[in-house]
Symmetry: C2
Subunit: 209 residues, 2 copies
Amino acid sequence: MNQVDTKTRILDAAERLFAENGIAATSLRAITAAAGANLAAVNYHFQSKEALIHACYSRRLGPANQERLEMLDVCQARAGDGAPALDEIMDAFVAPVLLGFMGTPFTALMGRMYAEPGDFARRVVGVHIGEIARRFSAALRRALPGLTEEDLFWRMHFSVGALAHTLAGGKLLEILSQGRCTMGDVQAIRKRMVAFLCAGLRAQASENL
Amino acid sequence: MNQVDTKTRILDAAERLFAENGIAATSLRAITAAAGANLAAVNYHFQSKEALIHACYSRRLGPANQERLEMLDVCQARAGDGAPALDEIMDAFVAPVLLGFMGTPFTALMGRMYAEPGDFARRVVGVHIGEIARRFSAALRRALPGLTEEDLFWRMHFSVGALAHTLAGGKLLEILSQGRCTMGDVQAIRKRMVAFLCAGLRAQASENL
DNA sequence: GTCTATAGTACGATAGAC
DNA sequence: GTCTATCGTACTATAGAC
């Protein structure tokens, strides 16, 4: 009974190969071969390659985003009438993703999500990120009352970039730092990232330059 | 004499199509059709698809990285024995790319550069980013003497992420902010980004959480 | 639910005429 | 330097037996 479903094996193989070689460069043949399944099984369990891609994202992003919202709920409840501390909000944003995905193939897939070309990717992002964006931008607006709405959106955008790049590009950092930085200690990355993002979000608007 | 070289037309078309649809999803046939050239011309002027991709990156990244280094030279010369101000260093890092590429198809290509799967992409990054990384990390180390080397690399990594994501993902920001933020005013983006990154780089190392 | 077989199309690369 | 023609291969998707 520890034998896994064909459907799940296909999802697992697709996730890994999409992450390693990119979505467009991964054929259904490579996926079914890696999954020990038949080529036709992909069109039986899913309808098309595009539906399989969507299923890969949904399987992981659903739970992670759920956890983000729950962590935000918790710190908002604890803050009562006041706004939660900025680093609690940002930790709720980054921790479920970092702790949940770092070290798994899905990191690369999630890191590339926003940069993936084509309209399909934008649909995936729209479906999975809509409520997250609403809830967190509302929380941040309360925590950073001095910021204009425009500044806030830009700084959230930069923050998402730092997170996505860390998920997608770990190997690059290891190369550039000549091995001094690794993805090994996820809790340390979490702290570093929250510290960096909170400071960036709190920056004075610079009028010089 | 305003007629453009076939080789250049192929490069232009490849750049645009790679940016719009992704590298793997863009066929040489689509490129030569858009360039008004023959399919065989790509293998005559370049040797292969991979060499064409490399040429696309080199054509733009060479001059932009040159300008980054020149801006860094200028502010280091002006600072004399002292270290240049942090925002001058970071401006030298982001301005040539933002001002040079924003609004051109190459933005998307550059934004995706670090996330592109496969070993080939890592080679492109290695070739074009090596000296940039060395020079800027040395400058930042002098400007931020309180930071451990490890912290510095991580924060540079987050900074590259914010920049890359801004280059690659402008449309996402416009959607999430419901049109309130656009890529229109590049000088404003430059100021915002430098302010955000400098504050993040200067953050206190957080030991709580 | 899983297989074989195949239809129909597209790909990168090259040979060889001009 | 540019063309046509084509080789060999790979792709997604589906039809139909088991």
